[in-house]
């Protein structure tokens, strides 16, 4: 299977990565080689096993549904590149 340039552009857009045409082609080649290697997974018989996402054996980690102290507004906003009053400010979400 070969990765198409359009697929790479689609993935870059999904991941919100602005890439030049040159970058796209370079990543296409590299990702294609990595996927070719990774494809050997398909040869492993996994018909008898389930998926593992949590290796430590934990199932759920609950806490009491109580109000707790949280970061003060000023501390939360201290690193904001743009802020307006007590909010993070962003550009237009619709053009």
């Amino acid at each position: 299977m070969t990765l198409e340039r359009d697929q790479v552009a689609h993935v870059a857009m999904l991941a919100r990565l602005g890439l030049s045409d040159q970058d796209l082609e370079r990543y296409r080649e590299q990702l294609d080689a990595i996927l070719a290697h990774v494809d050997r997974l398909q040869q492993v018989d996994t018909s008898r096993v389930g998926e593992t996402a949590q290796i430590g054996g934990l199932v759920n980690a609950w806490r009491e549904d109580e109000r707790r102290e949280c970061l003060p507004v000023e501390a939360a906003l201290a690193n904001a590149p743009r802020r307006r009053r007590d909010h993070f400010e962003v550009g237009a979400i619709q053009e």
Binding site: Q7, V8, V11, A12, L14, A15, R16, L17, G18, L19, D23, Y27, Q30, L31, A33, I34, L35, H37, V38, D39, R40, L41, Q42, Q43, V44, T46, V49, G50, E51, T52, A53, Q54, I55, G56, G57, L58, A61, R63, L71, A75, A76, A78, N79, A80, P81, R82, F88, V90, G91, A92, I93, E95
Partner: protein
């Protein structure tokens, strides 16, 4: 001179021969002399001063409450958030980010009176095996500055190897503590997944990441681990399992232990010098009373592929928060989407972009089952094989890395870089504790012996490594003096 251990420095503090501030200043001086190797990204001056004063107070007013780490200087990797200290994960996208809180691992060391001195260089977002992916430039190996220190915790390994600090912290997602420990000739320990809280660690792959220490001696590694380990309600993946006291086990030796040698780890692509060093180490462990037994982990060849689906998938999700809105680097554009694209396009380096795209692809509609779900199943197989091996043996012993430190720039092809971690990343997939300790030299460069244990048998792993160090002197060998790098700790 031989760099001093935590125990020696602690004794010196208690005798009143030196002070925490003096030790911190000496470490700072030694770290500055390493500037040509570039292992340090920034110094924690204000915090250093505050902590040194705190430690001095404890030592003066309540010396009986002072733990082993009180007043001891250390350095930590640039992925651990500390309130008021810039933390960038080796990335341009977090340049200028000053965390409003301190993570648990470093926080517990601060509570123990340890004194941070510097933040160490690393691969961007801990993605790499050579430290060449740092946005702020590569790190040189103290044994040979033209070679890499390993990665991603390359700076943390280098500063301990050079004797500038007695210990440091790194993180290990696929080998990022053990492999640089191996390359730099120091001990580096990745605890069981969930043993040390990840709260305040800038996440790379949340189901694999663990924080752990570097030091010269396993003794010191054990002290730092003990200070950090244990349940933390602020990390929901932190294990509530009680921490087995390391002290009680450390000195028990290996006599009577059954040690497994994974057949698959001794075959593929081992450099001859690595093989020789590791085989001598195995023979020595046998002489010390351990029984060696060959075991098989047949899914090992699939581990790399499994890892390079799971880790990128998780990183693509974790790094979505690097959006230029709430913190860090920001490119202003009238539309939010364009701002995201430019911020992330310019803010991330090539390896991070590759992995984010790989992960996004593996999680995208139509590929999820074939890649991500499949990889999670193979992960189960890999973990089960380790579990079965541990029914027969108490721990596994093998090389940490098939190769020694390589020249900078040698592995520009991403896949060839990924192959560096082939003997360490299965341990992360299975959530096991693993340590690398120096076990010899190959062509003048350090070789690491890896000890792997069952989940939550961290103490047993440390015990085996400690027994090995008790019979060898490799961990005491300092790197040869580097031209122009000056002499560390004098």
């Amino acid at each position: 001179m031989t760099p001093r251990t935590v125990a020696e420095l602690g004794a010196s503090l208690r005798r009143g021969e030196t002070s925490p501030a003096e030790l911190a200043a000496a470490s700072r001086g030694a770290l500055e002399s390493l500037a040509p190797l570039h292992p340090v990204l920034r110094y924690t001056d204000e915090l250093t001063e505050r902590q040194a004063a705190r430690a001095a107070r404890i030592l003066a007013e309540a010396p009986e409450t002072a733990g082993a780490l009180c007043g001891i200087p250390f350095a930590y990797k640039d992925v651990l958030c500390v309130e008021g200290v810039e933390t960038t994960a080796g990335s341009r996208i977090l340049q200028g980010y000053v965390p409003p809180y301190t993570g648990t691992a470093v926080g517990r060391l601060l509570d123990a009176g340890a004194v941070p001195v510097a933040v160490t260089n690393c691969d961007e977002f801990a993605m790499g095996s050579s430290n060449e992916n740092s946005a702020f430039g590569p790190v040189g190996n103290p044994w040979d500055p033209s070679r890499v220190p390993g990665g991603s915790s390359g700076g943390s390994a280098a500063v301990v190897a050079a004797g500038a600090v007695p210990f440091s912290l790194g993180t290990d997602t696929g080998g990022s503590i053990r492999q640089p420990a191996s390359f730099c000739g120091v001990a580096g320990f990745k605890p069981t997944y969930g043993r040390v809280s990840r709260y305040g660690l800038i996440a790379f792959a949340s189901s694999l990441d663990q924080i752990g220490p570097f030091a010269r001696s396993v003794d010191d590694v054990a002290r730092v681990f003990t200070a950090m380990a244990g349940h933390d309600p602020r990390d929901s993946t932190s294990s509530p399992t009680e921490v087995e006291p390391v002290d009680e086990q450390l000195e028990r030796g290996v006599a009577g232990l059954r040690l497994g040698v994974p057949h698959e780890y001794m075959t593929e692509g081992l450099e001859p010098g690595v093989r020789t060093a590791v085989e001598s180490a195995l023979a020595l462990l046998e002489k010390l009373g351990a029984t060696l037994e060959e075991v098989s982990l047949p899914s090992t060849p699939a581990a790399l592929s499994t890892y390079y689906i799971i880790a990128p998938a998780e990183c693509s999700a974790n790094l979505a928060r690097m959006d230029g809105v709430r913190f860090g680097f920001h490119v202003d554009r009238p539309s939010l989407t364009d701002s995201y694209l430019e911020t992330r396009g310019q803010g991330f380096g090539p390896e991070v972009k590759r992995r984010v795209m790989l992960g996004t692809y593996a999680l995208s509609s139509g590929y999820y089952d074939a890649y991500y779900r499949k990889a999670q199943k193979v992960r189960t197989l890999i973990a089960e094989e380790f579990d079965r091996a541990f029914e027969k043996v108490d721990a596994l012993v093998c090389p940490t890395s098939p190769i020694v430190a390589f020249p900078k720039g040698e592995r520009s092809d991403p896949l060839s870089m990924y192959l560096c971690d082939v003997l360490t990343l299965p341990v992360n997939l299975a959530g096991l504790p693993g340590i690398s300790v120096p076990c010899g030299l190959s062509e003048g460069l350090p070789v690491g012996l890896q000890v792997i244990g069952p989940r939550f048998q961290d103490a047993r792993v440390l015990r085996v490594a400690h027994a090995y160090q008790g019979a060898t002197a490799w961990h005491e060998a300092p790197p040869p003096p580097a031209p122009g790098a000056g002499s560390p700790t004098s």
